[in-house]
């Protein structure tokens, strides 16, 4: 049956070539498109996690929903002792954040002002490498302020300028101080760069009376794939008033946006593939229709319906396999190449900065599992496309088919 299928493929060249080309294009596009979509999402996520958000963060319950000093973590050291016992945690840092008014001599802006640990922060976030001008914070940098370039622009300030801060201390009392602008950073995220400033915790804690307090504890794990396991361990060790959240919850908006984007991506590729599916099916059907007498003769000389089905299955299986065997290495190579050398579109990050895009690069994702399920889908749909022609040809009685004109 297999040999007969091969002969048929070679004999009906038009149908074979069309099926081969369509299957090849579908498989190649599917692999490349999904690779690009997944790569963009992974890149967005990585960039977002690199900038400031941790893979796990520990909060007092309701801090994220209600906020305010009433929902600060009040015994940071106790939690840090527990974190030291958990394997898989790379490092952690306690941040104290508040919203206050920063003012230069001419302009004011409501901003996030965060006390950070200058020695730990570089391994947790992109803050230090995002330095544009001046210097990053150090444990002894005192009242040095490290601010986003767009915030500095709003304040019309320059390095060395005094920036006043007015806000509420951790006990809700009034807090005000004069900071000195020592450094500016650009992460590429406009909203972050336009509304964030940092100061060494040692100094900020004195002003805000926030010793051993934190808005949250930011945790970096060795392997992002272990984040759920580590989070479960942390949750078991902290009391009920505290919650430990992974990036999936912390960046829910982005995760949801990526899911919606993926759904639309799959809908787009599905529409494309439905067209291809019907074209393959129609070509298969036309081919089978033109071979009714041939099938009738085969049935008359003793071939069962099952054998006819097997013959048609072999035909589509061979054609699909050839197309996929050519498309898969090419698609995989493209995915791999662009995962290592991302496509660069100048100005893209500027255009899409509001959507969290902070890089001009579009990296692809090279994942063998994804490629496998992509080609499996193409295989499956190709095989499904022959079901109707199979049913059609088997609906004829052998003699009727043999005399069909």
């Amino acid at each position: 049956m297999f040999n007969l299928a091969l002969k048929n493929i070679l004999f009906y060249k038009g149908r074979s070539i069309t099926t081969l080309i369509l299957t090849f294009i579908s498989a190649l596009m599917f692999i490349v498109y999904v690779s690009m979509m997944d790569g963009s999402h992974e890149s967005m996520l990585k960039n977002a996690l690199k900038v400031y958000t941790g893979s796990i963060e520990i909060y007092k319950k309701d801090y994220r929903d209600i906020g305010g000093n009433e929902y600060l973590i009040t015994d940071v050291q106790k939690i840090e002792k527990e974190l030291d016992k958990i394997e898989g945690i790379d490092t952690y840092t306690a941040r104290y954040e508040t919203y206050g008014l920063l003012s230069s001599s001419t302009q004011s802006s409501a901003s996030l002002v965060a006390g950070v640990e200058p020695l730990k922060e570089p391994s947790m976030s992109q803050l230090k490498v995002a330095l544009v001008e001046g210097e990053f914070l150090s444990p002894t940098s005192g009242n040095c302020l490290y601010a986003g370039v767009d915030l500095v622009k709003k304040l019309e300030a320059k390095l060395g300028d005094e920036i006043s801060f007015v806000g509420a201390a951790s006990d809700n009392s009034f807090a005000a101080d004069l900071f000195k602008l020592c450094g500016t950073f650009r992460t590429g995220s406009f909203s972050f760069d336009a509304s964030s400033a940092f100061i060494a915790r040692a100094y900020f804690d004195e002003l805000m009376m926030s010793h051993n307090k934190a808005s949250y504890i930011n945790i970096k794990v060795h392997d992002l794939n272990d984040v759920d396991t580590i989070n479960t361990q942390i949750s078991a060790k902290i009391d009920d008033s505290i919650e430990s959240l992974t990036w999936k919850t912390l960046m829910k908006t982005m995760v949801d946006a990526m899911e919606v984007d993926s759904i639309f991506g799959y809908i787009t590729i599905s529409i494309f593939y439905v067209v291809i599916f019907f074209v393959i099916m129609i070509f298969g059907f036309i081919n089978v229709s033109s071979r009714i007498r041939e099938f009738g003769t085969l049935r008359c000389i003793g071939l069962s319906r099952q054998k006819i089905r097997t013959l048609l299955f072999y035909e589509i299986f061979i054609l699909s396999s050839i197309a996929i065997m050519i498309a898969t290495p090419i698609g995989a190579y493209i995915a791999y190449y662009y995962s290592v050398h991302p496509i660069v579109i100048d100005g893209m990050s500027e255009m899409y900065k509001d959507y969290g895009i902070i890089s001009d690069e579009i990296p692809f994702s090279f994942n063998l599992f994804t490629i496998t399920w992509n080609i499996s889908v193409v295989y499956l749909l190709n095989i499904l496309s022959i079901l109707y022609p199979m049913a059609f040809i088997n609906s004829f009685k052998p003699v009727e088919a043999a005399h069909h004109v």
Partner: protein, 242 residues
Amino acid sequence: MKRILLTLSLLSALAFGDEASDIMKRIDDNQRGQNVYMQMSMTITSMGHSRTMKMQSWAKGTKKSFVKTIYPPKDRGITFLSLDNQMWQYIPKIERTIKIPPSMMLQNWMGSDFTNDDVVKQSSIVDDYDAKILKREGKVVTIELIPKEDAAVVWGKIVSQIDTDTYTSQKDIFYDEDGEEVRYFIYDKVKKFGKYYSPTVWKILPSDKKGNSTEIILEEVKYDQEISEQYFRKSALKRFSR
């Protein structure tokens, strides 16, 4: 018959609307007079502990007010000036006068449950809201205040219980735009100062932060006495800070 009933109900609604607005105006007059000087203490309770501040305030009409912190020593000399819905603050510790931007208007004022907007938008209750009487129970009238269409206000609704003997509020409940209760004010110990009545104890309780409160006690109130215009200039922030 239906038309007559409809006309009567419309007329009574209009009459109640006018009466409600009139009540709100009389409350506003009671609170402000021509001008008013107050010395007050403000006790803020949050996170299980309390702290007290003392302040002096000078206000003229609905557009001008000046506040000076006199206690505790740490905050002494911090001054606030509000003019025509704008607000400035002077902080002696850093010797800076800062204009509070619109984005900060919903921030807490001096760590209390007041917002900067409460301090600045002193006239908005009368100007920006439509008043309607909800019910009467003896001398107490409950009035609902709904923002006018084009009013730039924070609250979605305010419900006030008014004592019509003294034209002072007993309780104000503030709701957000979704109709959720956000906070309420309770007023107590109404005293007469000349021809004006004013509650001398105000308590603010945020609905979402149990245990938090801000209590203001008016220690000294003087209505309709001459207040120098110098208090309502930006130079006053630093000058009267000392």
